[in-house]
Structure formats: C-alpha cells, structure tokens
C-alpha cells in the first residue's frame, strides 16, 4: 500500500471487501483524476442451480434451492414453494400459511440481526468487525447476539436446524412443530421485541454518510400485511403486477466482468430491492409499534440514502419479533400440515422477500412432477446495477479522501445492500490508469 497525500489521485489496491456473503470485487478506475470505470465484479463461482434442478422431482426443489444461500435458505424455500404451488394449483390452508410466516420471521430475525450489528454497524461505529467492536463495546455485541440467537432457536423448532431447515415442502410442512416448544421461546422473543425498539432509536441516531440518490424501488406487496411471504410486485414508478409477469418487466443481462447476471427494468434502468425498497413502499403496513416509532422519529419517506437500509432493517426487526410473538400465541396446528396432491405438468411463478430483497422463482413442471425448466432471480443480481449507479455518484465525493477512508466508504456502500454474493464481493480496487 502506498502512503500518499490526500490531494493526489492514487493507485490503490486493498485486499478484500469483508462482511458480505460470497465472493466478488469492486473495481474503480481513475483516469486524468476522474473516475472512468466502476464495476461490481462477482467472481463467486457460477453454481448452475437452474441447470441441475432439471430432471429433479418438484418435492426436492425446496431442499436444493435452500443451498443457494446459507443466510436466507427460508426465502429460497418459500419462493420455490410459492412458484410450485402456483404451477400445481395447490392452495394451502390458513394454519400452514401462518406457520410459513412464522418460519420467515425467524429468518428475518437471524439475518437482520446478523447484518445490522455484525456486518454493517461496525462501519458506522468505526470498527473493522463485530469482534473488534466487542472489545470496545461488549454490551452492544452481546445484546445483538442474544437478539439473533432467538431467531435461530425459532428456526430450529420449526425446521430442525437454522441453516437449511428440513420441514418445508411443496404444499406445507412435513409436520406441525410442537406448540409447547414454540411457546417456550416467548419470553426471549418478548425481551428481543423490546430490545429491538430501543435499537430502532439507536439506529435512527447513527451518523450515516450524507448521500442521497433517486432510485426505483421494487418490492412485494400484499393487500393485508407487510409483503414478505407472497404478493404482487409493485414499484415506486407505479408498476403493480402479479409474479407471473415479473420476467416480462425485469430483465437479466450477462455482463463480461461478472458471474452474476445483472437485472434491469424493461426500459433499461437499474432498480433497488431490499429492506429500503420494502420500507419505502410498504411502511404503512408495518405494525403499531413501528407506526409510532415512525412518528416519534419523524421519518420522512422515501428514504433516499442507501446507507439507511440499516434503519429499515431495524424497523423490520421490530415487526418480525412482534409478529413471531403473535403467531405463536395464535398457533393452532389444525388440519393437515401438508396438502397432498398428484403432481401434474404446469408452469408457475412465485416471489417472496428474502431479507435482502425480492426473490423470483419460475418453474416448468413436466410429466411425473419432474422439473423441466427453472429460473431464479436472486435479490443481489437485481441490485448490482443499482450499486454501480450509486457508486458513480458516491465515489467522486470520497475519492480525494485518504485511501483507506475512501475505500472503506465505498465498501460500506456495497455492504449496506447486504449483498448475498453466494446467492457476491471480496476485492476493492481503485486503479489509476494514468500510472498503469
């Protein structure tokens, strides 16, 4: 690393963007003192899921797609079952749906608590990681770990384990979890719900980098609840479509520098999915506690600062705990835990909101219930174009700062998207082409 004066435009190489899931890089080229190239470069190896789903039974799909991402396996399972149930014309019962929502709450708790405190907050608190944060502020990390733990515990009760739970199937669950085991988690969930409220106030007071962009937000919307489990696809430009039309409006492109496909709107624009998109579009449907916090903290919508995704996550966390408590209290495992059906040929699309954004699946099922075609559009590939667009605006504002600071700021911007690269970023490079 070269030590340089802050006024020079330097050739900088920094080894790794950390605290994201998966592998990739960020390349920022500088020429004549100006940024001339920005590429989010995903070198996460191609993993061919759509390829090897072909010829598998539809019942195997939720187990296989879960392995796309260890941090949000439930989202992959849910988008899969939504799409396959649409393909099969299977209608699940209200108790099954309620349990799916509870399982999803557990994943939001585990994933959001992880991202807020262990992955993004260290950036805002001047720490390189939660491990170093724990040295200066152990109470923050200890509390965060406790808040996260109950999410994993809930995942275990419903699905056997927290990473790649085993209870979900097309049509419902292999069995109902025990009410007593769920109820045993109530005290910890209630404690966490209160802790999460305090954390929203804390999150609202953090010193986010000053930066605002105009982005098109896209999220799932449901008529009766904050869109997570299923719904239509809506955008801040007024689009409102069923999942089956998603791939007519949002197109994926394969660019040379990246193993992940990049998504665009039909008009060729970038767009944002994820907590900020959901919060901006659907905040009115969050629960009562969130509503009063929105008023108390005088939150103005839309929030146009991508770094504030952390704030959106902390609101969603409040809701996830509250919803989990409610769903456990109301839990009635009545009727079959699983709707049985005879697999038949058909096609279906489904969406759900992974903690990091909208996740679209589409399957063509052939004879004997075997998959003929699969298409999966993960949230991170939808956000890449948006990350690059943000960087075009953000990088020039920090490029004159000392190298470490500038790099960290750009990394932080990417990190605020909670990119799930396994479903992508370890390399930030600023290259001065004048000196290459």
């Amino acid at each position: 690393m070269s030590a340089t004066k802050s006024t020079e435009i330097r050739s900088i190489e920094v080894p790794a963007l950390a605290r994201v899931e998966g592998e990739g890089g960020l390349y920022i080229g500088v020429k004549g003192g100006k940024i001339n190239q920005i590429k989010v470069n995903i070198y996460e190896p191609p993993r061919f899921f759509e390829g090897f789903l072909r010829g598998r039974s539809l019942y195997e799909v939720p187990d296989i797609t879960a392995r796309i991402c260890g941090i949000c396996p439930v989202a992959y399972q849910m988008s899969s079952v939504n799409a396959l149930e649409a393909a099969q014309g299977v209608k699940i019962t209200p108790p099954i749906r309620a349990l799916r929502r509870l399982l999803y709450c557990a994943e939001y708790i585990e994933s959001h608590a992880l991202h807020i405190y262990l992955l993004q907050a260290p950036d805002l608190l001047g720490q390189e990681s939660a491990i170093s944060l724990a040295e200066v502020a152990p109470e923050v990390v200890t509390k965060a770990l406790r808040m996260k733990k109950v999410g994993n515990a809930l995942l275990r009760v419903i699905g056997g384990r927290s990473v790649h739970p085993v209870s979900t199937t097309v049509g419902g669950f292999y069995r109902w979890p025990e009410k007593a085991a769920l109820e045993a988690l109530l005290p910890e969930l209630e404690w966490s719900a209160q802790a999460a409220v305090d954390e929203v106030r804390w999150a609202a007071g953090l010193a986010y980098p000053e930066f605002e962009v105009d982005a098109e937000y896209v999220a799932t919307r449901h008529p009766d609840e904050y869109g997570v489990l299923e719904g239509r696809v809506v955008s801040s430009t007024g689009l409102d479509i069923p999942p089956s039309e998603f791939d007519r409006h949002y197109l994926e492109e394969h660019v040379a520098h990246c193993n992940s496909l990049h998504s665009h709107t039909q008009a060729g624009n970038s767009y944002m999915v994820g907590p900020l998109a959901r919060f901006n579009l659907n905040h009115g449907q969050l629960g009562k506690t969130s509503q009063s916090l929105i008023k108390e903290l005088k939150i103005q919508f839309p929030i146009r600062n991508p770094f504030k995704a952390l704030l959106a996550r902390s609101f969603e966390l409040v809701d996830a705990y509250e919803d989990a408590v409610r769903l456990i209290r109301e839990y009635r495992p009545e009727g079959p835990s699983r709707i049985l059906f005879d697999p038949k040929p058909g096609e279906g699309s489904g969406v759900s909101e992974a903690p990091r954004g909208l996740l679209f699946h589409k399957y063509t099922v052939g004879a004997g219930g075997l998959i003929e075609k699969a298409r999966i559009v993960p949230p991170t590939s939808q956000n890449y174009a948006r990350m690059e667009a943000d960087l075009w605006k953000f990088a020039p504002t920090v490029i004159a700062k000392p190298h470490e600071e500038a790099t960290l700021a750009c990394e932080h911007l990417i990190r605020s998207y909670d990119p799930c690269i396994s479903c992508s970023v370890h390399f930030v490079r600023w290259v001065n082409e004048d000196t290459v």
Partner: protein, 264 residues
C-alpha cells in the same frame, strides 16, 4: 509487530452457500469466548482485517470448482499447520457436484446467456481431491458443536470426539418412529453418518444423506430395499444424488441403480 501468542485460526470460502461459515457466527454463546481464545486471522464473512499466514488452523468451506480455486487451495495448504474441511461441499463436493455427472458446459448454456464469460472446472470436487486434509467435518451445514469440538481438541493436541454411527441410531435415541417402516418413506438414515440429531425423521421425512456415508458403510442391502419401495427406482437414485451425492459410496450406488434401469 510481535508474533501473536494466541493460536491463529483462518476461515476460507470456496464454492459454497456460506452456510457452514454462518454456523460459526451462529455460535452466539461461544463466539466472543472463541474470538478471545484464538486469533481470528482471516474470516472475511465476519471481519475486514486480514492477517498473513502461517495459520495454526485453517477451516475451509466449499468445494473446488474453478481453476482459480484449485490454485488458491494449494496456497492455503502451504500456510496452514492443520487444515479442516467443513461441510458437505468441502468434504464431498456438495450441491455444486450435482453437475458432475452432467455436462457442465450444457448447464452453463442453460443458465447463462454468455457461458464464454465464465471460468469453471468440469467437476466440483472436495478439498481432499486437491490437497492433504487433516480432518473432515461433514454435514450440510456442518454441525457447529463438531467444529467447536474439533478446534478445541486440535488446540489441546488431542483427538476430537466425533460421531461415527448412523442416523438410525440417533432416531432410536430420540424415540422417533421410523418413517421408513411406519410410513414407507425412502430414508438414507441407515447408511448416513450421524451428526445432525436425526432431524429429518423427527420432522416426518426421510434422510437425504446430507452428512454423507457412514464410514465403512455398505449400501448393498439398502439399495434393493430403496428400489423396491418406489414405483420409479430413479427416486432412490435421486435421493442418493443430493448434497453428499459425490461421496463415492453414494455416487456408486446411484450409478448402479441408473445402470440397472437402463438395462430394463
């Protein structure tokens, strides 16, 4: 800088879903104690700071599926006193290895509009196919207690105490009614290494072998049973070709079934 006196642990990722690394972060009760007891020298999912090798222990997640990965693993081996492969990807190729029996180029064409942009190897292989591995921990994901036991044992210079029996035994211990006997479901529990607590049967479904074959297991008796249980014996072959499907015992059995099918 003085050499750190705490043992150094580094965590590396290859082709994987990050789930096994997440199991480390999921040690909510032990994480801070662990971070205090060892120097976490490299763990990109958790921390930005990276210390150079050598490392006392390297934990490796994921399979080797690109030319770049095949190079990197050799470098890591050179820097690690002990190398532990964690999870089905690292020990058996994992879910990526589902493509090993097919044509990867065809898959690439199916998934990516410009397969020429991609760099990958024709097969996804376990870490042991490339370098010497000192210890393998199985599962998809790996069991975090096993990771903790392995790391503690190795640092104390003793043999880690890891389960060697099959999932079936775990069912009996849990008092789970056998789904194969009671419900006629296909189950790989009799031939799968335990470590998960037999959670699939406890959830009312058969085991799909995510911890891989039990050591020294013979599938000769189970395979005919599985084949006889389903109208379409390919069901059994698919079950064997799951996240640990590239482990030789499972791969061979699946191939046998498919070959048998072709004959008929």
């Amino acid at each position: 800088m003085p050499a750190p006196c705490k043992p150094t642990v580094a965590v590396f990722k290859f082709s994987s879903c990050d789930g096994c690394q997440l199991q480390l972060l999921n040690m909510e009760d032990e994480l801070l104690a662990l971070a205090g007891a060892v120097e976490i020298a490299n763990f990109l999912e958790a921390r930005r700071r990276v210390l150079p090798g050598p490392y006392d222990i390297a934990l490796v997640e994921g399979s080797v599926s690109t030319p770049h990965e095949a190079e990197t693993i050799k470098k890591i081996r050179g820097e690690a006193k002990l190398l532990i492969a964690i999870g089905a990807c690292a020990t058996a190729g994992g879910i990526q290895a589902l493509r090993n029996r097919a044509d990867a180029d065809e898959y690439a064409r199916h998934v990516y509009p410009h397969p020429e942009y991609l760099h990958y190897l024709p097969k996804a292989t376990p870490i042991s196919a490339h370098v010497k591995v000192d210890l393998e921990l199985y599962g998809c994901p790996v069991n975090k207690e096993e990771v903790l036991e392995a790391v503690t044992a190795l640092l104390q210079d003793r043999k880690p105490n890891l389960p060697q029996h099959s999932v079936c035994l775990e069912c009996k211990r849990n008092g789970t009614v056998c789904v194969m006997v009671a419900k006629g479901m296909l189950c790989l529990g009799p031939v799968t290494r335990s470590g998960c607590g037999a959670i699939c049967p406890a959830n009312g479904r058969g085991c799909y072998g995510c911890f891989g074959p039990q050591p020294g297991v013979d599938l000769k008796t189970l395979v005919p049973t599985l084949r006889a249980m389903e109208k379409d014996p390919r069901e059994a072959a698919r079950l064997l070709s799951h996240v640990s499907g590239f482990a030789p015992a499972f791969a061979n059995a699946a191939e046998e079934i498919l070959a048998e099918e072709k004959k008929q």
